[in-house]
Assembly symmetry: C2
Homo-oligomer: 342 residues x 2
Amino acid sequence: MQITLRDIARKSGFSVTTVSRALAGYQDVNEQTRQHIIEVANILGYQPNLLARGLRSQRTQTLGLIIPTYDAGFPNEFFNQFLLGVGDTAWRNHYDLLVSAQVPGEEEMAAYRRMVKGLRVDGMILARTRKNDPRMPYLQSQGHPFVVNGRNAPDEPSDFPYVDVDSRMGIRAATAHFIALGHEHIGLVLPPPEIAYTGYRLQGYQDALREARLPLRDEYILYGDLQRSGGYQAGLALLSRYPQISAIVACNDLMAFGVMAAIQERGLEVGSDVAVSGFDDLPAAEYAMPPLTTVRQPIYEIGQRLVEMLIGIIVGKPPEETQIVLPSRLIVRASSGFNGRR
Amino acid sequence: MQITLRDIARKSGFSVTTVSRALAGYQDVNEQTRQHIIEVANILGYQPNLLARGLRSQRTQTLGLIIPTYDAGFPNEFFNQFLLGVGDTAWRNHYDLLVSAQVPGEEEMAAYRRMVKGLRVDGMILARTRKNDPRMPYLQSQGHPFVVNGRNAPDEPSDFPYVDVDSRMGIRAATAHFIALGHEHIGLVLPPPEIAYTGYRLQGYQDALREARLPLRDEYILYGDLQRSGGYQAGLALLSRYPQISAIVACNDLMAFGVMAAIQERGLEVGSDVAVSGFDDLPAAEYAMPPLTTVRQPIYEIGQRLVEMLIGIIVGKPPEETQIVLPSRLIVRASSGFNGRR
DNA sequence: ATAGTAACCCGAAACGTTTCGGATGTCAAG
DNA sequence: CTTGACATCCGAAACGTTTCGGGTTACTAT
């Protein structure tokens, strides 16, 4: 059934050891011998048994990724792009990807244990850190290589390798953009409080208000669920309670779309009546009606850098920089009313 | 470092064999012994080494999925949902998922060989079949379990297990819907010709025209790339060449969004001036402006059924029905002008 | 002739699990 | 007292690979 090293050994007249070493590129095998063995291997259609190899060498050439999901709201476009960056880079470096999607909680930790202690993966990629996240301490206690997309919350130390985007600067830029356009009553739709980056985004909002000496009004700040529907509800709530609000900063694009829907639902016009901004710059942001002003984060690149960092750690050559904060950039489009008739 | 059966054996005073059998639930071990062994295993934090288990038992409890991608245009929302259905169901059945994304071609086949002959996976899930698809014959020749999302093209036999949606009926319903609204010049934006389901969608379009005794005009039929941009280009081309066209059937939602953009770009109104329909019913379809009339396919369910079917095949209990065509359903929204002022 | 060296090769053990084919002990029936 | 049946348990082999620690040969320098 399966072609093994033994088959090649028998057919080529060499030992299993030599066949193994020839195929692995060791220098202590005659070049002619190697060619012959390679030829036989090709004829037989040999493919190494990766389980056996992994068992023996304690290396699986596989990375693990557990996508955090909430109820039905699964991998949205963000994780799409993330998965692409991670998957591409892993493949280019000859690593496979073991993927699971788990709701945070006990089962999620079981999935981590299974991957890590089942020796299935050489390293793990974590995403969407939460407050008091149990995953990093666990992996640290196991001494298992891992990298994280996102830091811990501002008030917790982040003593692990990560790649994050500068949310604080991003939201600050978006808020400042609205202030520059003359808005004084600016709503904020935050991610759920348990998400680690929520703190940074709030800071950015506060920064911008402080700089402009505008009062910080807590009642203008609502939490959403990162989905479109959460943005919609928050948007409706803000608009009905505080009609003076003329701009809303949403902390991701999906919620921004919901906010836009809420605005339109109330018979107002996005951009001219109420300005909106998002965060992520998903492809859909550009095509929304009106196109969404948003903070772009390089999602693909984040995945890519994470994998490179992780592989470096696995092979014992960690990059000198293992805590990276990438810049974010404000992309101004019509939803902020910049080109509107304000 | 790692806790093995030997450790449990030493600590509990039983043999490795008995420990293994106790944990595996065999009946020839004393219940009291079993409890004791389980307890020791828990105290030690035992997690089976899945590589060793797989090597010995020739089962990995892992399914393989290679997402077909074109250039940068990666897993779009469709594969998101698909991945969710597949991932959820796999997890519920205690299977892991090995994922890769490959551009069709030589490298793609290498990825398949690697997964299959490297003995990493117990079965494979294929998606987006193409004409003359080399993957199914390969897997058949290897006698490796697999299931497919989608059939072969209408003119090729499909002698493998699959779950597909009834594209033909879906497009036929969409086209007939336009005809019923009085449209006589209806454009069609097809997927690339090498995709297997393109033939079925074309048939559906032809069916509807034939039924209504409307002439089939080949020049109304264009091919897109399944992306938004392809729909945009096709839409512009149709509208500029044939101003009499008053409705366009796009073969997926992404292309339909592009067509809508093209219509608006030309100063026309979607729905009233030119009606549009899509296929898939992505979440974004409902929120588009105007909301998109489209053919819904149960993407999550397809993934779910595929995994159930595949696991059945793996464990030797294939379901009686291994070639499933699920119904599709037309969802009428504003983009077809049904509620418009036509 | 001998020792040393380089080039090439190989046997055997090990990774952690499952499973085959018994082995042992106990007890009831004959 | 023997036999058989049953309930428990276990030794050893096997899955396919890598790697450690050599071994053999042929050549070079003494």
